[in-house]
């Protein structure tokens, strides 16, 4: 991409940022939290996309990091009386450490084996959070003291989203991103070219673990109650994967669009069909994966609307 195009994209992002920063003052409480959660899913989908879209390692357990971040925030705020903002940093560091701990051994696995191992790791983390009740209050969950003004969490999520977009865009257009793509296309060939695949995969994995942790922390402070089944919910991982796939895996704009579309659709069906919406959601997952595995971006590329062979 040319310099002009980068600047144009940056200007576009800036305009969105300003609009989103002003927006909450004009919204009802419900709509404000709707926008907040949409932004959260943009963060989740984009970070999942770094390891699974750019690097080609399908993580089926990314919710683990989200849950770790949520628990870091909830424990420190509820039991240790911290201010909630620094707990986000603790969550991020914790997720990075756990990310290295899980990623280093598990990233040696490929394809379906990696996916299964990650699924097991995430479920295992959930069980640990349930069993370790001295720290996590076990299955009872944690209630946070309510001091929240919904603007604080909104602004935090907005900043996080902008940061995630900038990082994902930066990664996508850097040599780092190109090397990740090389690993995705052919790991052996990439190593033969002198790319330290182990190190790059691990870096991508940790990077994609940090943002969900912060998002989890903000979400915990927003909702004010968490328990293991709700923050280690498999369907959050599925949502990350599905949103990326719907928009277009391996691109930057794809997961953003996918997250916005899917979260809106989810909310609308949930409001209108309270009983059957999960059935519809299941069928929707099936249809997207069956008929649009390359997503909207693939569709746009086939029509010649966007240039091929670029990360958008």
């Amino acid at each position: 991409m040319t310099r002009v195009e980068h600047l144009r994209n940056l200007a576009l992002l800036g305009a969105c940022a300003v609009a989103l920063a002003i927006l909450p003052h004009a919204l009802t409480v419900y709509l404000r939290s709707f926008v907040l959660f949409t932004m959260m899913y943009v963060v989740l989908a984009l970070s999942w996309n770094i390891i699974s879209g750019f690097t080609g390692y399908t993580s089926f357990g990314h919710v683990a990091f989200y849950g770790i971040g949520a628990y870091a925030c909830a424990i420190l705020v509820a039991d240790y009386r911290w201010h909630w903002l620094p707990t986000l940093g603790v969550g991020a560091v914790l997720a990075a450490v756990v990310g290295v701990g899980i990623g280093y051994p598990v990233l040696r696995l490929k394809g379906p084996y990696f996916a299964i191992a990650m699924l097991g790791a995430a479920e295992g983390t959930r069980v640990v959070a349930t069993v370790w009740d001295g720290l996590t209050h076990g299955g009872l969950g944690i209630s946070l003291p309510s001091a929240e003004t919904s603007l604080e969490t909104y602004d935090a999520m907005l900043v996080l989203m902008l940061l995630t977009i900038v990082v994902a865009y930066g990664v996508g257009h850097s040599r780092f991103g190109v090397r990740l793509n090389a690993i995705r296309e052919d790991e052996v060939a990439a190593e033969a070219l002198g790319i330290n695949a182990t190190l790059y995969k691990l870096a991508a994995f940790v990077l994609s673990a940090v943002f969900p942790a912060v998002a989890g922390g903000i979400q915990a402070y927003k909702v004010l109650y968490i328990d293991p089944p709700s923050v280690f919910f498999v369907q959050i991982t599925i949502a990350m994967a599905l949103m990326s796939m719907l928009g277009g895996k391996g691109t930057v704009i794809g997961p953003i669009v996918g997250a916005m579309l899917l979260y809106t659709a989810q909310e609308l069906t949930w409001v209108n069909f309270p009983t059957a919406h999960l059935i519809a959601y299941g069928l929707f997952i099936v249809l997207v994966a069956r008929f649009m595995p390359r997503g909207l971006m693939g569709f746009a590329i086939d029509r010649g609307w966007v240039r091929k062979g670029m990360i958008h």
Binding site: P112, G120, G124, G282, R290
Partner: protein, 328 residues
């Protein structure tokens, strides 16, 4: 076998010894292990019960390993198919008055057709695609199945009272009659499927396709048809597993998820597409689970943790599993 392969097998064996020693150590530390006669009787009962349970696990895991072996697709809806089997049996029992074991004869054809339809409409598109496609398709299918079941049957736990008596094996070891019946039936069905795969012409075609689909096609095997049969058979095994589970344990629409993860752990332990491996893996997992629930405090959650721990460790030590070849 290569040397590194043999070494990884030794490593795995050493790990498994540690894994099985673990509940005893934790139990000794927590004081749940008492070396009197009654406790030893309990231990023996639990191990025998685990073996019985493992036979049923192995049977539905066989279905998962079939799909994984032939098409490289991870069927994330496998547990939901087990759950479907349990509900079909329940409906047949309470509304039609059919004996749960007899109802297998009715439900198996339904399951086979269900599998064929799923393959035709959904999974054919996922063969050869990145693993995410198959995972998402089957996961979405599983979700739709769970919530359809919730809509029809609610989230209440159901049980089927069947053969409530116990069988006294020795003076100390007693096993529920329903468990013995399930085990015998599971072994019979697994053996039948195994013989079908080993001996019949069609079964050989299935194995050939698993080995190398392209070469199989060149040899004149209709690979698409083999895929249909594979998924049909896998669904039938899952539903039969559901019938046998339903007479032993309570179930609700969400119990399927656990069975999916157990089946994952079993095929990882046994080796992808390895049928005898699935059997051994099933027995090993069930015995370990029962040991953990006997001795480790906070048993039910720890049982899950043991299954995931076993799965990940085996993946890391020897991705090909106990019987499998080295692959990564």
């Amino acid at each position: 076998m290569e040397r590194s392969d043999v070494r990884s097998l030794y490593l795995l064996a050493a790990f498994l010894v540690c894994a099985y020693a673990m509940p005893f150590l934790v139990g000794a530390w927590a004081g749940t292990v008492r070396l009197d006669e009654r406790w030893l009787g309990n231990l023996a009962t639990v191990v025998v019960g685990g073996v019985m349970q493992g036979g049923v696990y192995a049977m539905f895991a066989l279905g998962l390993t079939l799909i994984f072996g032939v098409m490289r697709i991870i069927n994330a809806a496998h547990g939901e198919m087990v759950m479907m089997g349990a509900y079909l049996t329940w409906v047949a029992f309470f509304y039609l008055g059919v004996d749960p074991l007899l109802s297998i004869v009715l439900t198996l054809p339904i399951a086979f057709v269900f599998g064929v339809v799923v393959q035709k409409l959904l999974l054919d598109a996922a063969v050869g695609a990145p693993e995410l496609t198959g995972l998402l398709i089957t996961f979405g299918l599983g979700l739709a199945m769970i919530y359809t079941a919730e809509l029809i049957f609610t989230t209440d736990f159901r049980t089927i009272p069947y053969a409530p008596g116990t069988v006294q094996l020795t003076s100390a070891i007693a096993v529920g009659q329903n468990r013995v019946i399930s085990f015998v039936l599971a072994v019979a069905i697994s053996t039948a499927v195994y013989l079908f795969l080993k001996l019949s012409r069609l079964g050989k075609a299935v194995r050939a396709t698993a080995l190398n689909a392209e070469v199989a096609m060149v040899c004149g095997i209709d690979v698409r048809r083999i895929y249909l049969i594979t998924t049909g058979l896998a669904a039938a095994l899952a539903v039969a597993g559901g019938a046998l589970v339903s007479i032993q344990f309570g179930f609700n629409p969400e119990t399927g998820v656990l069975y999916t993860l157990q089946a994952f752990a079993i095929i990882v332990l046994g080796g992808r597409g390895h049928y005898v491996g699935a059997l051994i893996g099933g027995l090993m997992l069930a015995v370990l689970e029962n040991l953990v629930s006997l001795m480790v405090p906070n048993g039910t959650a720890m049982v899950e943790l043991a299954a995931y721990g076993l799965m990940i460790s085996v993946l890391l030590i020897r991705p090909g599993g106990l019987m499998g070849v080295k692959e990564g």
